[in-house]
């Protein structure tokens, strides 16, 4: 019989594992933000002075995740 397990476990893990998992989550979010920077926030990026760098990163990373028809 398929039965879900309960939640009554305490989570004690090493600090390094926590750091690694946080870094992973941060990396995924960062990559997502770079690739899918909301168009309505380009003004904000300009205001923060990161627009050029963001554009550069986007141009550099996008080819790894895109390709045209039959390419």
């Amino acid at each position: 019989m398929l039965q879900p397990s309960s939640d009554d476990h305490s989570l004690s893990t090493s600090l390094w594992i926590k750091i690694a998992l946080c870094a992973w989550m941060g990396a995924v979010v960062l990559l997502f933000i770079i690739l899918f920077w909301p168009p309505c926030l380009w003004g904000l990026a300009q205001g923060l002075g990161i627009m050029d760098k963001l554009q550069l990163l986007q141009d550099w990373i996008t080819p790894f995740f895109s390709a045209g028809y039959l390419s």
């Binding site: 398929l2 039965q3 989570l11 989550m25 990559l31 909301p38």
Partner: protein
Amino acid sequence: MILFASLVFLLLLYSAACLGGGTLALRILTYRSDTALKYSAGTMLATAFVLGQGLLASLWLLLALVGWFSRPVVFGVVVILALSGVILAWRWIRGFARQAALIWRELRSDTWGWQSLAGLTILLCLAWITSIGRPLTVDASSFYMALPKVVAASHRLVPLPGYEAFTNLGLQGEMHYAALMSLQSPDAARMFAWPTILAGAVILLALGRRVGLGRRGQWIALAGLFTSSAVILLSGDGKVDLFAVPFGLAAYYWVLQVRNGPLRLALWLTGLFSGFAIVAKLSYLPVMAPGIVMLLVWQYWEDFRDPIKRKQTLVTVTTAGLQIFVGLLLAFTPHLIQNGILYHNPFSPFGSNTMGWAEQLWFGPETTRRIVLTYPLALTFGMYWAQYGDISPLVLAFLPLGLLLPRPRSFLASPLVAVTLAALVGLVVYAVFFPSVLAPRYFLVVLLLLILFPARAAEFVSRNDSKPRWLAAGVMGVTHIILVVVGLYFLVNVFYISNTYHYLKGNLSECERDSIYCDAMIAINRVAEPGDRVFLKSFPSYWLRPDLIQCMLPPSVVTLVGMRDADERWAYLYEQNVSFLLADKATHSAEIDALDLANPPGWLELKLLYSNEDETLMAFQIKWVDPPTQVSETCQQLNPPAWDIVSKK
């Protein structure tokens, strides 16, 4: 705001009709066993709604095949079923309201972080209504919305001109569009994706509960669903890929009830939902079949291992499998009848020469290898040609947190492990058979199932992280960031707030919202007589009048380039009784150039009705002065209100 009120009313009425159809069917399936329906009210409402969707689309299909798809019939069926739905499902509706109140109370007692996470998720879900202001996609205006428009106007289903080899696919979504168009609301048709995904969301959450998700896990799963661009992009775009999702999810939910709940009902529903899902999206066949079989066998695995029970278990599983198959066949029957009548081959496209879609090749070997080797990344960040969306980044972000989940008493007894593996098997099968076709919408159901494992892991971490609670904070922060970024990103792609407001106020016309194709076709509609023939040199046809779509000379019929000269090409168009030409140079330049529009023969005049600025899209009226040949075809109303092409020879 009258438009908005009528749109909401129609959506509610039609949803109630789906609910009614499903509730009636559930009553029949559980005849003399009322205990079978004692599930959570939300789960039963969603199950009844989705089942009703499948049954209603099948009924519309059969009615359209015999030419009875008229407005009085559609209206009558919808009203009767809607009333039945409200009366028969009232107990569930009240129960669902109590459930919602309980969830609200639980949320109020949770931390502000979870409250804001839930609020943002609900906001993203509500944003779907702003897709009314979104332009139709080319696919939708070419087929998915054009076919229903013709069905609604002609009261019958025949292959759409130009898409004769395509109308053999399952028409689950299209028939709902046709019914809502028959009730005078193409906007409600487009927006029907919204109640559909809401039902899918409820079933996903019910599945989540089944595999051990608590309330927080369910909120994360919901956030995962509504931050998946593969889901968002199907909001109000007129495509039909979304309709298969709730069917698929419901099939996975009910196969998991085989040993927990009422066996007979669970088997019937698994079969029916699997069948409807595969009819709605044929690519779900190889994706879902192994997972459903696996989950069925998995639940009996302990008994298989017992030598005393083995033989009896084998008989039980085989019988259960057969019952699922009968349900699947039942759901498939209207589709088989459709193809039997229209193509004289019930199993079309199998066994016909229209299997091109199954042999698609989108990318070369090198790109295909890159896609397959980076599958989780390609499914999260991919922007490949025709990919049309990704799975939520929350899945990838929270996946490693699964390492922290406590080991289950037995992997064989864990529904979370079972469902995740069933989804992974479906994913692997798809990747093996269609490595070069990276289209999450083709296997969306298994991608959504994969949300459950990371959601469970994130929930576990948020509840049990010890100081310093970085992981719990990380889960909260990441979910918030993704919700905000996704919401803002789609403000200009899918959620057109300003357009929706102006459209509903009546300050924005259909053509201003949609595209220049609409302007060009409306220009033809204004001057064309009923039954005139348009030579369509473009893919979209949706905005043409229904009689003109039925009578048109589609682009696929003739290759003008192969003819001797422009005179012969124009003579051919006269023989076909063509009076209008829609020329889209962006997609059909070779054949348009072959007509030499600047120097037509002296025996005809071209009157420009519409041209965009760069003259890539033009609409002409053709006035034949003294043509050198005879008309061989006309378009007539042999079976009103439908139009047919009639040969004069």
